[in-house]
């Protein structure tokens, strides 16, 4: 959360923009049973992107309560893992209702995950180095899932195998890039692994900015 109003509005606008990218075509169309990798991108935007920006846009108070970091971490991990249990993943592709549930739950899990770092009042947030550990632990969970998806010979989400209406993108990708469902899942796993970790890494660097910035005197001239 930020002290300056324009910056806060900027964050909120960012959250709205990311939400729009995640929930509007083309991403939403592709993510709905056509491309697993697009689904993964949407998943990450909803879990890591939108909630973080929304919380940054909250008006500042120092008193807002925090939650247990264990709970926050567990929520983050749940957001990563639960919807990639094959049963749930397929259900979300097949039923619009479950898909809405998925969207809402990802936003919720994401908010819980970011809460100890940016949701809680400035006095009650995790200390910077504890925040680094928290984020690193989050990154481990998501890396593991990324590795699993990338190298797994098994289809995690079989609903993406034979899309009812493949649209124009999938045929184009397979004819021009030799794109296969296996490559699709690999890319999904790699999105979860590499760019997602960069989000955590960026947040870790932000913790360092906070840490060094809060020193008794700023060393930078």
């Amino acid at each position: 959360m930020s002290e300056s109003r324009p910056l806060r509005f900027g964050y909120l606008a960012g959250a709205a923009a990311l939400l729009a990218v995640a929930l509007l075509p083309p991403l939403s169309t592709l993510a709905h049973g056509i491309l697993f990798s697009a689904h993964m991108l949407q998943h990450l935007l909803l879990l890591l992107g939108v909630p973080a920006f929304a919380l940054l846009g909250f008006p500042p108070t120092s008193a807002r309560r925090s939650i247990s970091p264990v709970l926050g971490w567990a929520a983050g991990a749940a957001g990563m893992w639960v919807w990639h249990v094959p049963l749930f993943c397929n259900a979300a592709v097949r039923s619009a209702g479950i898909q809405s549930l998925q969207t809402v739950s990802l936003l919720g899990f994401g908010a819980l995950f970011w809460w100890p770092l940016i949701g809680a009042g400035s006095e009650r947030r995790l200390a910077p180095l504890a925040g680094v550990t928290y984020l690193f632990a989050g990154c481990v969970s998501c890396t593991l899932q990324g590795i699993l998806l990338t190298f797994s010979p098994v289809e995690i989400c079989s609903a993406f195998l034979n899309p009812a209406d493949p649209g124009p993108v999938l045929p184009w990708l397979s004819s021009h890039w030799g794109f296969t469902p296996a490559a699709d899942q690999q890319i999904g796993g790699l999105i979860m692994w590499v760019p997602a970790c960069l989000v955590y890494l960026g947040a870790i660097m932000a913790q360092f900015v906070r840490w060094y910035g809060s020193a008794g005197a700023r060393a930078l001239s």
Partner: protein, 310 residues
């Protein structure tokens, strides 16, 4: 061949790699010169002139500079990444059909199997100029790596993990290659040659290679041919058209048409072949062909026979 095979590409794939490489080298050189000049200039300009002068009002840092020299490298690597992604697509197009040639790496030689024509050879790959062929790359034992730098990328040959590679050449010639992954004692002599022939030459070569092994009728070649079966050569080496079909060691059906011995260790000539047969371990220590303790008469017979295997 020029100074560097990488700078003398003969295929569109290798040319794509060269283009990427030139960008890479230029960017690296510019950054290197920049940093070096900055460092050396600082050393000269700020060399202490007096004994023990302290810097009284030093700069502890500068936020704007830090942001600048974080962002500029980010932009540079984004540029390099774009070049890389494009270069990868051009230099290694995905395989979209069945392979033409199966290459199986062995410790320390290459088995080359033309899947559509049944031609089986070793250490020398013939391709027609201007036509793209698809290789399937496998290993019979440890990890090897197929690398002909003038033709394109290197690619590992991993047991249990077959790979594919397009191969083509836009001019005729003999282009050398080698094993790129350390694979044991004789990794150094696991070389091969890719011959890019005119379509006609390639056709003739292929027709000749499809024939069965020539049968010796008389004299030393006949004696050599008998020795070849008696001395257990056939336990490992195949001669197509006979009962001997082992694929443990190189197929010798058209041995005399090849240019080297032992995957590049010697040029293929009768004296060299005699040297090899007298004791392969002397020529290529550690290779899997044992010393059969042949006497010079036997060697002469075998050489006479094998020289007929055109």
């Amino acid at each position: 061949m020029r100074f560097s095979p990488i700078f003398d590409p003969v295929s569109s794939q290798a040319t794509a790699i060269l283009r990427v490489s030139v960008v890479g080298f230029v960017v690296a050189a510019v950054i290197f010169v920049g940093v070096t000049v900055w460092v050396v200039y600082s050393l000269i300009r700020f060399r202490a002139r007096l004994e023990n002068p302290e810097v009284e009002k030093p700069a502890f840092g500068n936020l704007k500079l830090e942001i600048a020299w974080t962002l500029v490298p980010v932009l540079i690597v984004i540029f390099l990444f774009a070049i890389t992604a494009r270069g990868m697509r051009l230099s290694d197009p995905p395989a979209d059909r069945d392979p033409d040639i199966l290459v199986i790496a062995h410790q320390w030689w290459w088995e080359i199997d033309y899947l559509h024509t049944g031609v089986l050879t070793a250490n020398e790959l013939h391709i027609p100029v201007g036509r793209k062929l698809l290789l399937r790359l496998e290993s019979a034992d440890v990890i090897h790596d197929f690398w002909a730098p003038q033709l394109g990328r290197k690619i590992d040959m991993v047991p249990g993990h077959p790979n594919s590679l397009w191969i083509e050449a836009d001019r005729t010639g003999a282009f050398s290659g080698s094993c790129g992954e350390y694979c044991g004692t004789q990794h150094a002599w696991m070389r091969f040659t890719v011959f890019a022939d005119t379509p006609d030459d390639f056709g003739h070569w292929q027709e000749a290679q499809r024939l069965s092994a020539r049968v010796a009728r008389l004299g030393r070649p006949l004696a050599g041919q008998q020795l070849f079966t008696q001395l257990t050569c056939v336990n490992c080496h195949a001669l197509r058209g006979t009962q001997n079909v082992a694929r443990v060691a190189p197929d010798l059906t058209h041995f005399a048409s090849r240019t080297t011995l032992g995957a590049g260790v010697l040029p293929n000539s009768p004296p060299n072949l005699a040297r090899w047969l007298l004791n392969p371990q002397d020529v290529k220590p550690g290779c899997l062909m044992p010393n059969f303790q042949l006497n010079t008469g036997q060697v002469a017979d075998l050489v006479a026979y094998m020289e007929t295997l055109k």
